[in-house]
Amino acid sequence: MTPPLLSLRGISKSYGPIKANQGIDLDVADRSIHAILGENGAGKSTLMKLIYGVEQPDDGTATWQGEPLALASPAEARKQGIGMVFQHFSLFETLTVVENIRLVVHGKTAELTERIRTLGRDFGLEVDPLAHVHALSVGERQRVEIIRCLMTNPKLLILDEPTSVLPPQLVERLFDTLRRLRDGGVSILFISHKLEEIRAICDRATILRAGRVTGNVDPREHDAHDLARMMIGRDMPEPMPAEPRTGGDKQLEIIGLNHTPDDPFAVPLADINLTVRAGEILGIAGVSGNGQSELAALISGETRLSRHEKDRIFMMDADVGQLGPAARRARGFAFVPEDRLGRGAVPEMSLVLNGLLTAHPLKLLKNGLVDRAQATAFAETCIRDYDVRTPGPQTEAGALSGGNLQKFIVGREIMLAPKLLFVAQPTWGVDIGAASAIRRRLIALRNAGMAILVISEELEELFELADTIQVLYHGRLSPPLVTRDTRPEEIGRYMMGAKPEKADA
């Protein structure tokens, strides 16, 4: 029997007291699509960084096609034939595709252009080599990243949550590409926490929990329930059935909003109309980069409308278009932004001080001074009630994993007891256990009469949460679709720019 392509034995890595990986064994076979499955914080990213040489292990050995492998640096990894596509793309928006690729691959522009076209044809990665990156969709950008990796003829390609940015139709297309790559002799390490995807495409799955391997299975032989149990170590709670509600007060209403941002790369919004009522969840679907962040900033008040644009945004029946975030919060608005570090939280500050950021009106101040005892008690409550895994409230926000910080921020905003809660990407990078807890919490709040607006890229999430879904595409919102009467494919069509079928509606 031939040795596996990549073989890890006893790989361990600690960051201070946190054991991110403990005694990991992993065998990746030649010509296989191998899933690394696990919750956030289970150690998937750490393991990938070790394999790609971004970080070095404390202990353990690696072999590559039977030979010892040094896990020294990304350059070394690339030389051996290991490529990686990160979750967050690293492309220069103002350069063309081929210019971006020339930054890492030597060669003449004409030759590279030709190779990009060939790779595109062979593997279903069509993209115009001469297009500027800022003009490309997210799916196309991902193809550029994959092509850039393929240029160095890798034997192993690591993809970090590649489907999280794609609409359903494009996921199928990516899978087709991955199968062709496998058949062409490239093994793939596929990181995900989406069980159905892994069952659809992977030959093998290694499951991580709390830094250890808890399973090594053929995913096609297990159902999603089994895999989830291996991943979170207990049974998944059943989703709460959403009872339809109607007739609550309008807590947020946007009427005919047009907005052209100052930033030339930002997406202009056109004719935005939406209504969120008390006791209702409205979901905004769509692939990131279609105006989500621009719309979010307009709702939160981080972008204010000019004095001439009256009666466009109403919160709790008041025109708030010209008000800043603090004034909107004072009316009962709370907001969880999609970027946690640097926006939803200050990385260098403790959780106590990060609680203060928006929760200071909850009597955390005394005569203009910070009431340390109250602020600490607030952070402790939030940590306990929202299951934030951290050594304590004095921990810096930047030291928390993305999922745990998200739980803290969501908890902080919910503890404000708002009338209108706006959550952008509620479970981005959050493990399924925590994600389902956050979703159940949102549904419970809705049932208690809160108006909730959710922006999410994950359709399954919106179908679980939202009473109504609107799709954002190129800065325009689709008409509201009642979730119970809508199929995912219909939403998917809007996500790729379909016009409403009834023009007169």
């Binding site: 040094a70 020294a72 070394e76 975030p325 200050v346 101040l365």
Partner: protein, 364 residues
């Protein structure tokens, strides 16, 4: 290619190292001393004599130590004010000009009312000076908020304008008519002088004020919600925007506080050791205070220590100029290298060096 294999990498730490934070200032001081001693040897000076004159003499007699304390006052005041702005990432580099305006505003009282007497005079002068400094800094704040004009450039250039304003006053309307045409004002009356703290020295009550205001700065930055908002704005501007903390207010507050403190220092200088308005009212206090603020880690307590150290170096430098025949530029080089060494050292609070130990294995 091969060289890079032997050079260490700068790797970001998971969290800030408290040890590195506390060690950075003393290590930087030690490194700067060694570096400069080497320089003095190269210049053909006797390093032992320089060390004695520069680093020991200021502490060896009460009279020279009292001069250190005298210099500590303005450095402490200005640096505390600047540090508040720096933590909000509002870079007021024009404390020198705000200091000069403070001196001018304070001098207005004794120059216009040379006959006035009473205990109200020197406190009013300090207050007026502080207001003058704040107004001057307010010009910078206005343009920064209004037109997003870079506050570093505006405040720095306003310092040059302030110096010209001072020269104009001293050569024109405020020149002492009996001063043999020297560019200086009349000597101030007794009641325009800040009372001295210790008999026989020039140390005056303004040092106490500086210490009290240092405490106030500590409360403001470490305890108050306003100070917290400023720090959020400095550390993560987008988080401040998200929470609804006004950026414009942070800029105004930072600059007004900085200008107030620098103006107060300027007033205390003319109403203290100088006793009149003259051309050389500042020996670069406004610029040295920037170094003081950073050496103190922008922390109110740290700044108390660093102000004392910088004052001692300054007095020691004067000594060394006389007794070890050191040029004045050497003192400036010392201050500059101290800041540089500190900035290098402070990088290790959030970063650590990692040597490429794994490369040995890859060669097999």
């Amino acid at each position: 290619m091969s060289m890079t294999h032997f050079l260490p990498n700068l790797v970001r730490r998971e969290r800030a190292s408290r040890k590195a934070m506390l060690l950075a200032p003393p290590l930087a001081l030690a490194a700067a001393i060694l570096l400069n001693l080497a320089l003095y040897v190269l210049m053909g000076r006797d390093p032992a004599a320089v060390v004695h004159a520069m680093l020991l003499e200021p502490f060896l007699s009460w009279s020279s130590f009292s001069e250190v304390l005298l210099k500590t006052g303005p450095l402490l005041l200005i640096a505390q004010g600047l540090a508040i702005g720096f933590r909000a990432k509002v870079f007021n580099i024009g404390a020198e000009g705000q200091f000069i305006l403070g001196a001018i505003f304070a001098s207005a009282i004794p120059i216009w009312f040379p006959q006035a007497t009473g205990g109200w005079i020197w406190p009013s002068m300090l207050l007026l000076g502080a207001i003058g400094g704040a107004l001057w800094a307010g010009i910078t704040a206005f343009w920064r908020v209004r037109l997003n004009a870079n506050e570093i450039l505006v405040s720095l250039m306003l310092s040059l304008v302030a110096a010209q304003l001072l020269y104009y006053l001293l050569l024109g309307p405020w020149k002492d008519p009996n001063g043999f045409n020297f560019p200086q004002s009349v000597m101030f009356q007794y009641d325009a002088m800040v009372p001295t703290l210790f008999a026989g020295t020039r140390v005056n009550v303004s040092l106490l004020i500086a210490i009290v205001l240092s405490l106030a700065a500590w409360v403001f930055m470490q305890k108050s919600f306003m100070g917290y908002k400023l720090q959020v704005g400095g550390l993560a501007p987008r988080a401040a925007g998200y929470a609804g903390f006004s950026e414009g207010r942070a800029i105004w507050l930072s600059l007004l506080i900085g200008g107030f403190a620098a103006g107060l220092a300027g007033a205390a200088e003319v109403a203290g050791p100088l006793g009149q308005l003259q051309r050389s009212i500042s020996t670069g206090y406004g610029y040295s205070a920037i170094i003081v603020a950073y050496l103190g880690g922008l922390h109110p307590i740290g700044i108390v220590v660093s102000a004392l150290v910088m004052a001692a170096i300054s007095i020691g430098g004067d000594n060394a100029m006389v007794s070890a025949n050191l040029p004045i530029a050497a003192v400036r080089v010392f201050q500059g290298s101290l800041l540089l060494a500190y900035l290098v050292a402070v990088a290790f609070v959030r970063y650590r060096l990692e040597w490429p130990h794994t490369t040995a294995r890859s060669q097999s």
